[in-house]
Amino acid sequence: MTKMLLRCAVFALGTLLVLGHAGGAEAIEIRRVVSPGGIEAWLVEDHKNPIITLSASFKGGAAADPDGKEGLADMVAALLDEGAGPYDSEAFRRQLEDRVIGLGFSAGRDGFSARLQTLTENSDTAFELLRLAMTEPRFDPEPVERIRAQIVSSLKRSATRPQTIASRTWWRAAFPDHPYGRPDSGTVDSVGRITVTDMKGFAGRVLTRDQMEIGVVGDIDPERLGLLLDRTFGALPDTPAPTTPEAAQLSAVGETFVVEQAVPQSVVVFGHRGIPRDDPDRFAAAILMEIMAGGFGSRLTEEIREKRGLTYGIYAFSLPLDGAQMVMGGVSTRNDKVAETVRLVREIWAGMAENGPTEQEVRDAKTYINGSFPMQLTSSAPIAGMLVSLQRDKRPLDYLEKRPELIDSVTMEDLRRVAKRLFHADELTFVVVGQPKDLKATAPVPEPRS
């Protein structure tokens, strides 16, 4: 969960792409492809390996699950590749496995996505299976009940994990009346209530051409891609997209919640409001988050891990969802060090808001952000993902070229101002799961929503 959120955050912040350099390596060139039928995809052609990778995203994820049917988006994602069109579950899976086609779906809070990876020689079959999964999923009784049982089992398993408990409690406390406060993957009860009609409804509602974004990388040219786009996505309905989640206000601001659990190490999740994806200050925020939490050398890791040995890992990231924007973080430490760790997080937070970053920190963060982006693009799947998020965020085709300049032009003055806007030590809401010593809860843990 955290890992996935983290990745979203990284992509949301974007950065730049080095387009070739003196060493003579090939540049990554993004092309906009529009099929004869009017379906758009962004393409990075690469014929080095006979592989094609596709990523597609749709609006409408777990936040759009009907009340009482939490987990619907997740369950649909798990079932689309379990039988479609003429193939029952086994026949469908066999097609995929025999040809080593990677096909999968996943649901996020705000969106739903498909990914496909295939050898060029099997691409006709691969795209056909993707089409069938999206347009003619079968939801046969056997796979439905099998997957339901697997989801329920995984819900039960994760329900005892301190990490899951901390995260779920945080969201429940922060969004008591908003879909974001519900568990993404649902509950044992809600997953038990989901019907085939619900799933068919979801697929018909969400898998539409409206607000669909597609990124493709690999061994394919624009002409052939155009053909496959029409064949694969042409039959999807072109209906207006599901409404994006309502804007939400965070509750429980500044509170500390403690969930008692007998574990040797407490797990802490914290967070407060952040800034939107399209905010003019987003570049300054990206730089500040890097300085605060960009791994080794960042303030949190330096103070809490390196100097004091309080934790194996502390992290924080921006999470600009459609309906709410957050800065989130987490840390784990032994029970008798939780109070000290929480106090330090607040102090480091307040220090940044008050004094801003140092010149050296800013220089380092800028070079890191500008230099590290290609590191994320060392295989096809993340490039395809990036092509999708660029489109989702309505970036121009040459955005990656302009990005370094936008980062570099952020001034010290901007950063001091945005530091005050971004970091609010007294608004941090903490959830601690474990047996923390000397740490007072300020409010009772909210009951799960039914």
Binding site: G23, E90, L119, A262, S379
Partner: protein, 449 residues
């Protein structure tokens, strides 16, 4: 399956699953080029110029299995301490310099190797080579920093193991499965032994094992051997070779007794079951069985169309999930095994019986040559994906070389796996799975009292 490696990273927990090391039918896999410096350090280049990025790795042929008794976790602790600085690059600066230059780096420790890596723009390669070469010999350790890092490792242990019943059980299972071989010890170390590790322990281990003649340099991505060779000579070639002890690994006695390891834990939400046997690796036991066992695992339990899944999950509905695994990439004994989670209303004992029944059927009736052909074809084809990355080939090649394989052996993988027959699969199955000395481990929920 033993946990492959543990590292220093926190939020960049890069756990690399290097299961595939193959290539397209007929073709070679990674096409690495290699030469050896006069001081004995092997240098490997894997060229892939799609992005102007390189992954630079130094692999040391030493890991957790080379620790002396009583000092579990030392190899991993030293790996952490290698970030604590030299005279030229003081504590904390290594990571800072790498990220200031837009790069990312980390390190990890396995039983048979320890590796340090950075992924960075290719024009910054000399910078990371210089720093990595510097810390091969010039480590200085401050007592206070060693103490703080020991606390970090203890927190790492709590995060990875003590807060997780599955990890606790796995640790105890390894201790039961290996009777004498050092894979029985946890890589991260037992908590009481981590607490006792000192600066002197770490430095002694460092001086003993960290030498160019015990290391392999792998650079993948936007690099050619022509460009790499002079850099390798300049930065690593000047470090004198030193005598490095031979790795002495004790022999494992014959396994004659089946064992059961059970853990009831309040954080375990449901029952789960695993059974494993010691199995040959490339360097231990009957290595000709390694690839047939990999094929066997694929046929029996490699996904939702495999035998076990079809029978136990789809048809009989006894299991929620079930599968098989095989190792083979270690210096010492690997493992082969099965795992499963019982479905609601079924006990772990029922599941165990059902898996045993399937296993007996396979041993009695054999596998279908068509099943084998399908598994082999899919394993070979999936290997094409292995090239689609800068970092993964560096890991796969470095790991294979660090345990003692040759580039030729890595490159011949597709041919070798393509030649596996149903007879070989059955011969391997009989050789390993009829042995009595397996370990069954069971995790059970424990109601909170």
């Amino acid at each position: 399956m033993r946990f492959p490696a543990i590292g220093r990273g926190a939020l960049f927990l890069a756990l690399f699953c290097i299961l595939i090391s193959g290539g397209p039918a007929g073709a070679k896999v990674y096409e690495p080029e290699s030469f050896t410096l006069p001081n004995g350090m092997q240098v490997v280049a894997i060229t892939d110029q799609r992005v102007p990025v390189v992954t630079h790795m130094v692999w040391y042929k030493v890991g957790g299995a080379d620790e002396a008794p009583g000092e579990t976790g030392l190899a991993h602790f030293l790996e952490h301490l290698l970030f604590k600085g030299t005279e030229k690059v003081p504590s904390g600066e290594f990571s800072r310099i790498v990220s200031r230059n837009g790069g990312q780096g980390n390190a990890f420790t396995g039983y048979d190797y320890t590796a340090y890596f950075q992924t960075i723009a290719s024009d910054k390669l000399p910078l990371v080579m210089e720093m990595e070469a510097d810390r091969m010999t010039n480590l200085t350790l401050d007592e206070d920093e060693v103490a703080a890092e020991r606390q970090v490792v203890l927190e790492e242990r709590r995060s990875r193991v003590d807060n997780s019943p599955a990890a606790l059980l796995s640790e105890r299972t390894n201790a039961a499965l290996y009777l004498n071989y050092p894979y029985r010890r946890p890589l991260i170390g037992w908590a009481h032994e981590i607490e006792a590790l000192t600066r002197e322990n770490a430095l002694a281990f460092y001086r003993k094992w960290y030498a160019p003649n015990n290391a392999i340099l792998v650079v993948a991505g936007d690099i050619t051997m022509e460009r790499l060779m002079p850099l390798a000579e300049k930065y690593y070639g000047v470090i004198p070779a030193r005598p490095v002890p031979e790795r002495v690994r004790p022999a494992e006695p014959e396994q004659i007794a089946a064992r059961r390891v059970e853990l009831a834990h309040p954080l375990a939400a449901q029952e789960s079951w695993t059974r494993r046997w010691l199995a040959p690796s490339r360097f231990w036991g009957e290595s000709r069985h390694v690839l047939p066992l990999a094929v066997l695992a694929e046929v029996i339990g490699g996904g939702s169309t495999s035998r076990l899944y079809k029978k136990l999950v789809i048809e009989q509905k006894i299991a929620l999930s079930v599968g098989a695994f095989s190792g083979g990439g270690d210096i010492g004994p690997s493992t082969f095994g099965f795992y499963g989670v019982p479905a609601e209303g079924h006990s772990v004992e029922e599941l165990e019986k059902a898996i045993e029944t399937e296993l007996q059927a396979i041993l009695r009736d054999g596998v279908d040559p068509a099943e084998v052909a399908r598994a082999v074809k899919s394993m070979k084809a999936s290997a094409v994906y292995a090239r689609d990355s800068v970092t993964a080939p560096a890991h796969a090649v470095g790991q294979a070389l660090a345990v003692g394989r040759t580039i030729e052996q890595i490159e011949n993988w597709p041919e070798e796996v393509g030649a596996v027959t149903a007879e070989q699969v059955m011969e391997a199955a009989h050789a390993i799975l009829t042995k009595p000395g397996h370990v069954t481990s069971i995790l059970r929920p424990k109601p909170a009292s």
